[in-house]
Symmetry: C2
Subunit: 341 residues, 2 copies
């Protein structure tokens, strides 16, 4: 059935039912939520917490293409990128609003599959979808807003502006696999099934580091962000906002094993400037990083250190301390024309 046959209110009703059937599960029994989908706005009781809010748009043929991603994967990813922003603040995501722009001839089954992917990840992260908006559009446009908080009164949050000279720089997980997946799709490569599955997962079903963000907060980390534009581009953001510089030893940057296997000549390019890794990038005194390493269930690697001075960006060095340069340092939505992101 086409969206235009079902109509706006029919579609909203269908999607509301999908969300309602999830919110009856115990993890979602949220007695703070007063009004969910169906009124002018959603409403909930707040307490004395720091509130967080983030929003991201994904647009067909710019951020995703139906040639390579399923509707479920698009739904998963569009919520994941927002959860990752909350993770980058060390917060707990609570509520999501979903705005869809859809061509009238979109199949209703496709949109319920899209919502299926959103509901799957919202279940995994215990986030409730509480509202949104559905409009007609020439191409599929997905805008998601996620609200969260800092978990406890007087609890701190992680910001991009708290890096200090003398801090070391660390990342969770490994980098480059999302860029590898993107390259696999773009060049239609035939890779081994295990590596292909791993690259696809990194590209289309990223797992935001919400738990790790909480571990950072609990272990005294102050400066962090999630890696979406690429390690170097994102570290440049921290440098600019903290008024510091950064030195990264490229050999210490952890690269995805699938990238090493499938793209041995491009590991550093993908890991340093590929983007969309949705890992956490953070800085702290070495003792605090050690505590994070001990607490986290994922790899945590030190990759460099924060330096004083006015350069406000990232310097790459090899293991002898010599400067290394790399082509491309991140993703600019307007300057480059890369698709399938």
């Amino acid at each position: 059935m086409k969206v235009c046959e079902l109509g706006e209110f029919g579609l909203i009703e269908r999607l509301s039912e999908m969300i309602a059937s999830q919110s009856r599960k115990p993890a979602f029994s949220d007695n703070r939520l007063l009004i969910g989908i169906g009124d002018d706005a959603a409403a909930w009781k707040s307490d004395s917490l720091i509130q967080l809010v983030t929003t991201d748009s994904l647009i067909e043929d710019i951020h995703f293409t139906l040639e390579t991603a399923t509707w479920e994967e698009i739904g998963w990813k569009s919520l994941a990128v927002n959860l990752s922003d909350i993770a980058g603040m060390g917060g707990l995501p609570r509520y999501a609003l979903v705005s869809l722009g859809l061509p009238g001839d979109t199949e209703v089954d496709d949109i319920t599959a899209l919502y299926g992917g959103m509901i799957e990840i919202s279940g995994e992260y215990e986030v409730a979808i509480i509202g949104g908006d559905t409009v007609s559009a020439p191409r599929v446009v997905i805008n998601i807003t996620v609200l969260g908080d800092n978990g406890s009164p007087d609890g701190p949050i992680l910001t991009r502006s708290a890096a200090l000279p003398g801090d070391v720089i660390a990342v969770t997980g490994t980098l480059g696999a999302a860029a590898g997946g993107f390259e696999m799709f773009r060049s239609d490569l035939s890779l081994g099934p295990e590596a292909a599955a791993s690259l696809r997962e990194a590209c289309l079903r990223p797992h935001p580091r919400v738990t790790e963000g909480r571990i950072l907060v609990e272990n005294g980390i102050k400066a962090a962000m999630d890696i979406s534009d690429g390690l170097v581009a994102d570290l440049d953001h921290i440098c600019r906002m903290s008024g510091v510089g950064a030195r990264v030893e490229v050999d210490r940057v952890p690269v995805s094993s699938a990238v090493k296997e499938c793209f041995p000549d491009r590991t550093l390019e993908f890991a340093l400037s590929g983007g969309e890794d949705y890992e956490l990038l953070f800085t702290a005194i070495p003792g605090n990083i050690d505590r994070v390493k001990a607490a986290a269930s994922c790899p945590v690697n030190i990759i460099g250190d924060v330096i004083a001075g006015d350069i406000h960006k990232t310097i790459l060095v090899d293991n002898t301390g010599s400067h290394v340069s790399l082509p491309g340092t991140g993703w600019d939505h307007f300057r480059t024309g890369r698709s399938q992101k």
Copy 2:
């Protein structure tokens, strides 16, 4: 300069400066805001209030066209429709997040004009723009999320589900002018300058009834919403969500004088099903409506009453009580192809 020449980060910086220069004004000195634009998410301290959030998307050539609206007007309206949702809950809007999807060849001056319109209305309503997202898109897509609250601890909110049999139904202001403006643009009509200006204003620079929403709350009103889909379609929403019916006496519906002057044969069609009026529709016992009338500086008119029963929709009657039918009862984004909204 084109957006693709300035680049994503350049554009974000430019727009952040525009917003920052406003937020230095006294009305915006908000010591609850901890992190604005530039981090993974915006953050603020909450207190024990009911929090409200709403989101709306506007898409080029579906919701607006640059043939009739200026960029400033588009900016104004895209924030106005969200403020109106907060008004429909009786809340105070506080923060806005702006997500823009833009073709790379969009002129930067046009986007600063768009932001100019948003900043103008955000100043009038004391709302701070605290974040957002900017991506590449084939056509202009504007998604705005507005956060608000109920103004005071233990204060109530207005919902669509609180209408009771025996309530009377009332609206603020007059209806139909936005639909009249839309028709003026669509048919390229040459109207008198005063009427044309009034219809244009209704269509492109609506003034959300935030103050009036607060007056409703203060005077014991429980059931309300803003009129965006059209009076009858929106009253149907209240009927369905409250489990009641509604009877509207069509002769009592207040019609915009510009509509009466320019479209004498279509007054009821525009007023009952035109939509985008952004007035408030509410129900209450007659005594409370009288108090609202006394407190509000805009017209408040009783147009009918809430009735018991399972019909869950709106019945239209004339002043003899006979049923009246009308073609079209509102706007369905997918079923109809109306442009310029």
